[in-house]
Amino acid sequence: MTATRDLVADQREQFAFHDDIDYLAQTKRGLSRSTVEEISAFKNEPDWMLQYRLRAYDHFMKRAMPTWTDGLDRINFDNIVYYRKPSEREEKSWDDVPDKIKQTFERLGIPEAERKFLAGVGAQYDSEVVYHSVKEELTKLGVVFMGTDQALIEYPEIFRKHFGTVVPAEDNKFSALNAAVWSGGSFVYVPKGVEVPLPLQAYFRINGENTGQFERTLIVVDEGAKVHYIEGCTAPIYATESLHVAVVEVVALPGSKVRYTTIQNWSNDVYNLVTKRAHAYENSTVEWIDANTGSRKTVKYPSIYLRGENATADIISVAVAGKGQHQDTGAKAVHLAPNTRSRIVSKSVSKDGGRATYRGHLKVSPGATNVVASVRCDALMLDDISRSDTYPYIDIQEDDTTMTHEATVGKVSAEQVFYLMSRGLTENEATNLIVQGFLEVFTKELPMEYAIEFNRLVKLEMEGSLG
């Protein structure tokens, strides 16, 4: 019991801070063609990337703002800095990282985590990768793990071959915005047959008021290779609105296995609009393990296109929506090849007037015979001022698909709370425990340290309900 009480202490302080950094280079507030050109010039990019960015910019400008989810019209694109560069060059070792930035990461616990078991660390401070180390072991295996900007220069062939193939710039308004102004993010290449023994992880942070964060992640896993990538986000809290528009592309080549884990905890003023998609080829397995606790509004549906026979998709999506938050999350599985399988599990918690929306798409295209698919969505509502929505889209165009879908919405049962309170827990602790149990399908998939951190985040959210 004592352990439980310790965890309930308010630890938000630890995640909410703001350092004054001297930015060496940044674009002017607002977005224009010249902003895009400026970003590309800062980075000394090849011309094809500049042209790609400009095409994407044109598409972004003419593409209508989506209206199927509300509140996006509140984003003021003119009041955002699209590119900031906190230091001149990529740092090779921890010692070279500027002190202020280092302090930020120390508070987040990166060095400690690295000591323990991490294979590589990519840390994003504002819009640039500043610190990146790849253990010798991985280098020997031929695994590439670096900032996306650096990969564009150092691995131009493999980069250009895959960049934008999974999420085209024209895919949606925000993928176009990302393609126009992207900066930072991780690039991972795992060569044929290589199994990366430990998870690769990157910490992301937004710092600086009204800083846009437009990272771009590209993960290419070659035939028979295996990797687990983890991203976790924390961000300082500000009063005005911030914007995070990311694109993540995963290419899982035949026989490979990829797991991508996210713990998203942006501060409650961030609009988090992310396009995440994987292409899964023959006999490959792709897993998205995705949790969203932070942000003001998240719009994110991790997707898997099952393009090769016998591919497997597994998506676990978890959302906690507190006061003022709207988690518009979900998952998509698109079956394009025979004998493919998919499983989607979604769990959401809404409280204190928060809104949790599950939006999913399960599609079986003509020719994708013998598909087995399942979708399960459960929602927990902790009070009657919150809201929970479930919008599953199921579109089956084959005659031998086996698909099941189930969704339930409920509240914390009074009997369970009573039972736990009779064992000495406070009501809040009891509710905490029940919520954690509800989300365990997610936490049990995490490495231990992350599971602890995630449970802490959930507790922080629950703490808010008392204040």
């Binding site: 035939e223 290419v251 599953p392 199921i394 089956i396 189930e406 969704a407």
Partner: protein, 486 residues
Amino acid sequence: MSPVPREVTLPAGAPPTQATEAAAPAARPARAPRRAANELTFKLDQATVAAYAGSEPDWLTADRQTAFGRYETQPVESNQLYTTYVDLRTANLADVVAWDAAVPSAATAASGASLPSGAAGLAAIAENRVEGVILDDESRAAGVILDTVAGVLARDPELARRLLAEPSSLPDDDKLAQLTRAAWNQGLVLHVPAGIRLERPIVLRWQAGEPGRALLTRTIIDLGEGASASVVEELLPSTGAGGRTAAQALFTGSLEIHLAAGAELAVASIQDLAEGTVAFQHRQAEIGESATLRWALAQLGGRLVRSRVDNRLSGDRSSVEQVEIVFGANDQLFDLTSNTRHIGRDTTGNLLSKAALLDATRSYMKGLIIIEPTAIGTDSFLGEFGMNLSKQARAVAIPSLEIDQPDCRRAMHSSAVGPIDETQMFYLESRGISPEDARKFIVLGFLEPVVARVPLVAAQDRLRELLESKWDAGALAEPAVTAPAA
């Protein structure tokens, strides 16, 4: 490393909704004329609506005008969740003309229509003709009214006004519902006074399908406190109805239901229009305290059917049970929406939709359960099940939930799409039944829940026959049953 193919026709996009719309038309062979999927080719103008005014009271003309204004401004699909699953492209209604309004003096019980055995009443309208309105003496004596709208306007203008001008009896934001409200040319009213319990069903028979003609109808069912009734709605081809290749016809129909406290209504509908007919149906029920509504809806006919059911459980302890089946063949499209709104306390919703799809049939089953903040103690279930019987068939299910009140007895939906169960096949075949018959029995059994709920035995038998003959026609046209792999 194997080459990565470029993305061409894959559906894509952050919104699960937007993408397929853009991709789908490109993937199909070009059709002429090429139209937007949500374009309504039927044209209604102010003059047509104004032409009804001559024979009608002012309040009714005003009601039509208000509806016409909404018809002009509202979208075909008002719910953004469903905008990608709208497809009116098989409805070619540019040359379709509405019948003139019903003549108030239209004869009742004039022609050959006779009361079906076991029924308490019959109202039959074919195209622009009232074939007959018959009510047995017992019901008439009890104060039950079964009449055309024209008849009710003449005999009880106040009742007519209360029922027809009720602003919320059809959805305001729905273009097609407002089309019907603006331009209806035939109408029926069933009114059962408080406390009256009709033991035998009332039959409402509509016949439509005359090529180039539009029959637009409103039907209002009004049950007083503690009243009970059952209704069999039959939607049939008229004698002149055209098939798949004929010029198309349009049928639109509303069913506006008002259930006062404690009322009970069962509605069974058998829709078997010709395949040259496009049908738009809007059913909306206001369900009062402790009142109960039971729907059994069978959708078989029509080229394109777009149907929307709105169940409003406004009274405490009110309940609705809805069972809907679709049995499609050729390239029929069934676009079916069910909205259930829980408003009162301790309300119950139990909805089940099932589709068996032959050939290149499409079925879009959209369902939305809304639990409002006031709806404490709700029990709501929505099930959507599909059976694709051909490789060209397409089953879409969108069972949605919007929940503002967690204090529910139950709030869930489930959905499944699967082929014919091999173990059921094996069982039947082991009893000496041929594979063809086994398939037929399993499919008809899948659809049986609605058949069993049709209150009139004759109508029940006829629905079974319709399902069976449709199966036989489909099975004949199809290649032989695929043999299990040796």
